[in-house]
């Protein structure tokens, strides 16, 4: 297991929990989907797994050592995070923002391949035409792809994507899927949250299903994408049917009634 969270609790306001004693395990090379209704605690879960939020109690271990033992920079060489904030202050250019992905490696041996990794990230995220522009002049979807490139350039074995598809159109989502598959096939471990159940079911190997500040179910996609579990999490009747897309990937068609 590359990442293990045990009995993690995060308190919110008024004595309520944002996460209540959750356990999560992520194996190396797996691709985990984090799904659940609004307010269930997906972002908070991503936060504690990526070391951005420190749980009030419980432990998170990365490669068998406590996540909290890593310095901020060591952490940034171990895992990359795509958050939901797209705004960048001041008029930085797309190339400058992508290059920030290499900041954690400054002064290390890896820094010699900075340019190579930046170029590759720009290629994988398909943002070559945007490079000379200022990021604040771009549309939401374009900004998202710039940040995806920045996170790829960071070149970490473990990567978090918090709702990466939220600002993208149909074509953008399709490109994102290719990007995530490429990263996964390159041996990286991915944790991806999304509200697009059909899309994420076709993409991931495992699912963490959140409901009301706890993990309702976790395991391989076929075991969690069931009518019974999804209906329980979303508190509404959800039917699940399986289909296969043009490229041979199985995905679940989830409809609520």
């Amino acid at each position: 297991m590359i990442l293990v969270a045990k009995k993690c609790t995060v308190s919110g306001e008024n004595g309520q929990f944002r996460l209540d004693r959750i356990d999560v395990e992520v194996g190396g090379g797996e691709m985990h989907a984090v799904i659940g209704p609004n307010g269930a605690g997906k972002s908070t879960l991503m936060g504690i797994l990526s070391g951005i939020i420190v749980p009030d109690s419980g432990t998170v271990e990365f490669m068998d050592a406590p996540l909290g033992d890593l310095s901020v920079r060591e952490l940034a060489r171990s895992r990359a995070v795509l958050g939901q904030e797209l705004a960048v202050s001041f008029g930085f250019t797309v190339s400058e923002v992508v290059a920030w992905g290499r900041a954690p490696w400054r002064g290390t041996k890896e820094a010699s391949s900075d340019q190579e990794k930046i170029d590759l990230a720009i290629h994988v995220a398909e943002i070559e035409p945007l490079c000379g522009r200022r990021i604040n002049q771009l549309s939401g979807g374009e900004r998202k792809r710039v940040h995806i490139a920045r996170v790829i350039a960071q070149d970490c074995p473990l990567m978090f994507f918090d709702e990466p598809d939220s600002d993208l159109d149909l074509v953008g989502t399709r490109q994102l899927e290719e990007t995530l598959r490429t990263l996964h096939q390159g041996g990286r471990t991915l944790v991806v949250s999304s509200h697009n159940l059909s899309w994420i079911s076709g993409l991931s190997t495992h699912v963490i299903l959140m409901g009301e500040h706890e993990v309702l179910a976790a395991g391989p996609v076929r075991e969690v994408f069931t009518s019974e579990l999804l209906s329980r999490a979303y508190r509404t009747k959800i039917s699940v049917a399986w289909s296969t897309d043009a490229r041979g990937h199985d995905f679940a068609i989830c409809t609520s009634s």
């Binding site: 951005i52 952490l75 960048v88 202050s89 001041f90 930085f92 400058e96």
Partner: protein, 320 residues
């Protein structure tokens, strides 16, 4: 790469302008220009203007970058008023003006002002753009009020009045003033130079910067400390000079882009140019009457602030 080339060109151009201004400012003045006058009166004044300008230009960059706030300026966020109050306090307890002792007290009170403003305007882990300015107004009003009480109940008014402190002037700058200011400015500049790459990443927001390996709280605290040192050192000698720290970084960013290392260096030189120019105007415009340099910068800077305010508000969709 293009921006680095531009930084060199702009930096060198500003530096040449600075040299010309130095020559001009040393050659004009009421008194006859023998070498004693130049050495003891005009040169320290010119050097002080350069030091204060370097400090304000780079302090503006640090405040805007670390608070992610395009409207930040040492005077507008209350840091300058905190420093002025400290200088008056120091004099009230018997320390001589233009001494390291007065500067040290100014640094302390200025840090307190900074801490209060940041603490008041923090909500959900971010510092709000407008609240910073509102808190700055309150801190500045408090500082001015406390200063006028101290000055009117002591014999300090004879040398430096309340209006000396609120619209600064280089008329009382001498060599001991210069000597009291450069150590803090040097420390502030060195700190700023090392923090610059991390300030770039703060543009992603606190979470994004942290995820990219920046120790956000420490970087922000050190950047604010550097801004305090760079501001307070000058204020303790010449009083509050507003808008230089606001306008210079914006103007420089327009030409060379926002990357902080280049921005800091060029804004430091730019601040010196602007202040030396403003002081020359202050001395010559209504010759033989000298107007306070702080009013020159305010008259030129306030309209720029209005433009920036409108732009920032439009970007955030209004502040109801």
């Amino acid at each position: 790469m293009k921006n680095i080339g531009r930084s060199w060109i702009l930096g060198l151009a500003l530096f040449l302008i600075l040299l010309v201004l130095i020559a001009v400012s040393l050659n004009f003045g009421a008194a006859s220009a023998d070498s004693v006058v130049i050495w003891n009166i005009r040169l320290p004044r010119t050097v002080a203007a350069i030091g204060v300008g370097v400090g304000l230009g780079s302090a503006g960059v640090l405040l805007q970058g670390s608070l992610r706030n395009p409207l930040a300026d040492p005077a507008l966020v209350g840091v300058s008023a905190g420093a002025a109050l400290g200088a008056v306090l120091g004099a009230a307890i018997g320390l001589p003006f233009n001494s390291i002792g007065v500067t040290s007290i100014a640094v302390i009170t200025s840090s307190v002002a900074m801490a209060v403003v940041v603490w008041v305007s923090r909500s959900n882990g971010r510092v709000e753009v407008v609240t910073v300015l509102l808190a700055g107004i309150a801190v500045s009003a408090f500082g001015a009020a406390a200063m006028s009480i101290i000055i009117s109940t002591s014999d300090l008014a004879g040398t430096r009045s309340v209006s000396f402190w609120t619209t600064g002037s280089f008329s009382l700058s001498n060599w001991s003033g210069v000597n009291s200011m450069w150590p803090a400015i040097a420390i502030g500049l060195i700190l700023a130079f090392f923090l610059a790459p991390s300030l770039d990443l703060l543009a992603l927001g606190d979470e994004g910067a942290y995820a990219s390996g920046v120790a956000v709280s420490r970087v922000r605290a050190l950047a604010l400390l550097a801004a305090v040192l760079l501001t307070a050192a000058g204020v303790a000698v010449v009083g509050v000079i507003a808008f230089v720290g606001l306008v210079v970084p914006h103007a420089v960013r327009l030409v060379i882009g926002p990357s902080h290392r280049q921005l800091l260096v060029v804004s430091a030189v730019g601040g010196a140019v602007v202040l030396l120019l403003a002081d020359t105007i202050a001395r010559l415009a209504l010759n033989p009457i000298e107007i306070p340099v702080g009013s020159v910068t305010a008259i030129l800077g306030a309209p720029v602030f209005f433009v920036l305010l409108r732009r920032a508000r439009n970007r955030q969709g209004g502040w109801a």
